[in-house]
């Protein structure tokens, strides 16, 4: 793992054991020049990965505009945000976890739990603000418990969050098996009303909230001590601990954030779909992970930008939109395309990371 250049010099983390990091300076030709240029830019290869994702997004959207009429309208682009608001929030939480080198498999199940809890509590006549607070607190609590198990008991994140996933889905089923409609005035008002933008376009409140979450997450990651510790842990956890950074608190913290974001995603999803069902969001965590990876975040942690995750979600959304617009293609092409994209980006990460990455 390279030291990510996103941190100021005084926070540089020493290279992990396994030999000094190989630099690209020995390489000649244009590749070396490009690498040196990337290294000299402020955030190094994270920016490059995000740039690649952004270019891909533009190319995909451009291709759609040329291929299908009515695709190139601004509202189609904005609809990507509207239709994927919950996934954006989910991917933001996942970015935090993956940056520390962890993973959260429970997020899709927590989304379902959020929808079911919201629907059930609203049905019971609770006021909407209280319902929202309870759902968010539940998500954060679940994340906190998983974080404690991961850090305090030193269990693997994969397994702990897998148990969390079963637990959350189980609670969903225990609350209600069948789907519950949401008829609360406040929720339907949020679902129906939109923010008018110039040019006759609009964004849903959910989409605006998702963008706010992205902005807040970017601020936290780059401008706070917590955020820098997240990157430091991803770079090398033992080094971060030796530097006296609050490794434990931060590690638990990222799972709290992820749980909170999943619950928020659940609320956005319940507003989007106006029902609570224990089978909502199956496999959503994989979409979130795919979006984060396509957005250039490295799965071993330490490198990546939350903006990339936003772009990753938009790339996934564009693929879905393209397949919807085509009409002749079946939905399973979405899965295949996402799989292929995932492969391309992982190989890309591997190739760009090889010189600077772990020695074999």
């Amino acid at each position: 793992m390279t030291v990510s250049d996103t941190r100021p010099p005084e926070e540089q983390v020493p290279a992990p054991p396994g030999g000094p990091p190989r630099t690209a300076t020995s390489r000649t030709g244009w590749q070396g020049a490009v690498r040196r240029w990337l290294r000299s830019t402020s955030t190094g290869s994270s920016t490059f990965s995000v740039l690649v994702t952004a270019v891909l997004l533009v190319v995909l959207f451009g291709a759609g505009s040329i291929r299908y009429e009515n695709f190139g309208y601004p509202q189609v682009a904005l609809n990507l945000l509207v239709d994927n608001a919950y996934l954006i929030v989910l991917a933001v939480g996942m970015t935090f976890v993956i940056l520390t080198g962890g993973i959260d498999l429970s997020s899709g199940a927590v989304v379902a739990l959020g929808t079911v809890m919201a629907a059930r509590l609203l049905q019971a006549g609770w006021p909407a603000p209280l319902v929202i607070a309870v759902v968010l607190a539940t998500g954060a609590l679940l994340g906190w418990l998983m974080g404690l198990a991961i850090h305090g008991l030193q269990l693997q994140p994969f397994i702990v969050t897998l148990a969390g996933m079963f637990l959350a889905r189980g609670i969903c089923f225990a609350i209600s098996g069948p789907s519950i409609p949401i008829q609360d005035d406040w929720f339907t008002a949020v679902a129906i009303n939109v923010v008018e933008l110039p040019g006759g376009t609009f964004l849903s409140y959910g989409a605006v909230l998702a963008l706010v979450v992205v902005a807040v997450a970017a601020y936290v990651l780059h401008r706070t001590r917590f955020g820098r510790t997240v990157y430091a842990i991803g770079g090398s956890e033992s080094s971060a601990a030796l530097m006296g950074l609050a490794v434990g608190r931060t590690k638990v913290g990222v799972y709290v954030i992820s749980g909170f974001c999943s619950a928020l995603g659940g609320l956005l999803f319940s507003v989007y779909i106006l029902s609570g069902w224990s089978l909502h969001g199956i496999g959503l965590e994989l979409d979130a992970i795919a979006a984060v990876v396509i957005g250039g975040t490295v799965l071993v942690g330490g490198r990546g930008l939350v903006l990339g995750s936003l772009l990753g979600v938009l790339v996934l959304g564009t693929i879905k939109a393209l397949i919807d617009f085509d009409g002749g293609l079946n939905s399973w092409w979405t899965k295949i395309t996402v799989g292929v994209l995932l492969l391309v980006f992982v190989v890309l990460q591997r190739v760009t990371g090889r010189r600077s990455g772990t020695a074999s």
Binding site: I103, H151, L153, M165
Partner: protein, 401 residues
């Protein structure tokens, strides 16, 4: 089972009593959990243990447990080897779906759907598809060097799409005597699926525990680079375990589809990768690699299935299965967690020693075999710097190679 005891060699000192040794064995907790589950059934539901021999076939809840566990157990055996190399395979559910879809599409489209030749062709092509998909995963992991979790995530995502492409989005149904036999047949009174799973288990146990192969696999899991330098063909071994798990996933796919006489690209084997991983981990094999226990995997898979059967025989809706699973899993993990064991006042095994080979404090690392076993783990929740107590990082870096 021709298994090594899960406790590490260093703990097998004469000074250690049997009890002390057993305490450290992660398998023990799984066996205890299974025993508690069975005991609970004995009290709550005496009919659970009734075995009947009817028309020359074995019937009963216990037989059902073993029969229904067959596909998961089959995959879990493969998963054990993959996890032992410090890898993971998320794509088995997709491979299972592809295998079933391929087989039934061939049977359905054949001129003579009920002939044995058709079945042989279908099975052959399905297994070949499994081998190809496994080779793909193995290539990504061992040659390209992508992290196993993400390399297999690619096929997990795309695989179901491919399966739906094969079946054209439909649920393919077909009738063929060979598949009927595979789904519900008996060999000497025992269900075929149990026989097949047993044979595979026996084969793997003999191959890996009666030859050096098992040790080589563990060596790759401990440190691939060191294993290679020591003359172990790490790359080939890694490649082979991914091919093997995809192959058994394909076999499981044939079983699952034959069982219901229908290939459902969307739902066949959904979440089976998670069940298989859980079975392996409950059995005491650490996700950090370097050591595995086939016995543990068998016990882990049996726990999961007994739990399911228990919930169903108690007349509870099957929605509660996940909740119960989660509770049992969490309890088993808590008991296996080194910190908890240390806090319980036992002499916890040192699970983390040299920083280069200490993946984490998971349920047991082979690397700790060299550690003095009588050091008491600190029970403090703060990682002790410098002792390699910090989990996670080195392991994940090694996975990347």
């Amino acid at each position: 089972m021709t298994d090594r005891p899960a406790s590490d060699p260093a703990s097998r000192r004469p000074a250690d009593g049997l009890l002390a040794r057993a305490r450290r064995s992660p398998v023990l907790w799984a066996v205890a959990a299974l025993a508690v589950l069975l005991l609970f059934n004995l009290v709550a539901n005496p009919g659970f243990f009734a075995l009947r021999f009817q028309d020359g076939h074995l019937f009963g809840n216990l037989v059902n447990v073993v029969k229904n566990v067959a596909p998961v157990l089959l995959i879990a055996v493969g998963m054990t080897l993959v996890i032992a190399t410090r890898g993971i395979d998320l794509s088995v559910g997709a491979v299972l779906a592809i295998s079933g879809s391929v087989a039934f599409t061939i049977v359905e489209g054949a001129d003579d759907p009920s002939s044995g030749g058709t079945a042989a062709l279908a099975i052959g092509v399905a297994l070949a598809a499994g081998l190809v998909l496994g080779a793909w995963n193995g290539f990504l992991v061992s040659v390209v060097g992508i992290q196993p979790i993400i390399a297999t995530l690619v096929l997990m995502t795309a695989g179901r799409g491919i399966a739906m492409l094969i079946t054209d989005g439909n649920i393919v149904t077909a009738e063929n005597p060979v598949f009927d036999w595979l789904g519900g047949g008996y060999v000497a009174g025992v269900p075929v699926q149990i026989v097949i799973t047993g044979l595979v288990l026996l084969l793997v146990a003999v191959l890996t525990r009666r030859t050096a192969l098992g040790v080589l696999i563990e060596a790759v899991g401990v440190n691939p680079a060191a294993a290679r330098l020591a003359g172990v063909r790490a790359r080939s071994i890694t490649f082979t375990v991914y091919v093997f798990i995809a192959f058994v996933a394909a076999v499981a796919g044939l079983m699952v589809t034959a069982n219901v006489s229908a290939a459902d690209a969307n739902r066949a084997g959904l979440f089976i990768e998670l069940d298989a991983i859980l079975a392996v981990v409950i059995g005491g094999t650490s996700l950090a690699g370097g050591r595995y226990s086939l016995t543990g995997t068998v016990v882990g898979a049996l726990i999961l299935q007994t739990l399911t059967t228990t919930v169903l025989t108690m007349g509870l809706p099957d929605e509660y299965i996940r909740l119960f699973k989660a509770v049992v899993i969490i309890m088993v993990f808590l008991l296996q967690a080194p910190r908890v064991r240390a806090a319980l006042g036992r002499r916890g095994r040192r699970s983390a020693t040299p920083p280069s080979a200490t993946p984490d404090g998971g349920a047991g690392t082979a690397a700790s075999g060299s550690a003095p076993p009588d050091e008491v783990r600190p029970a403090s929740p703060v990682p002790v710097p410098g002792t390699g107590d910090v989990p996670g990082r080195p392991a994940q870096q090694e996975v990347l190679r």
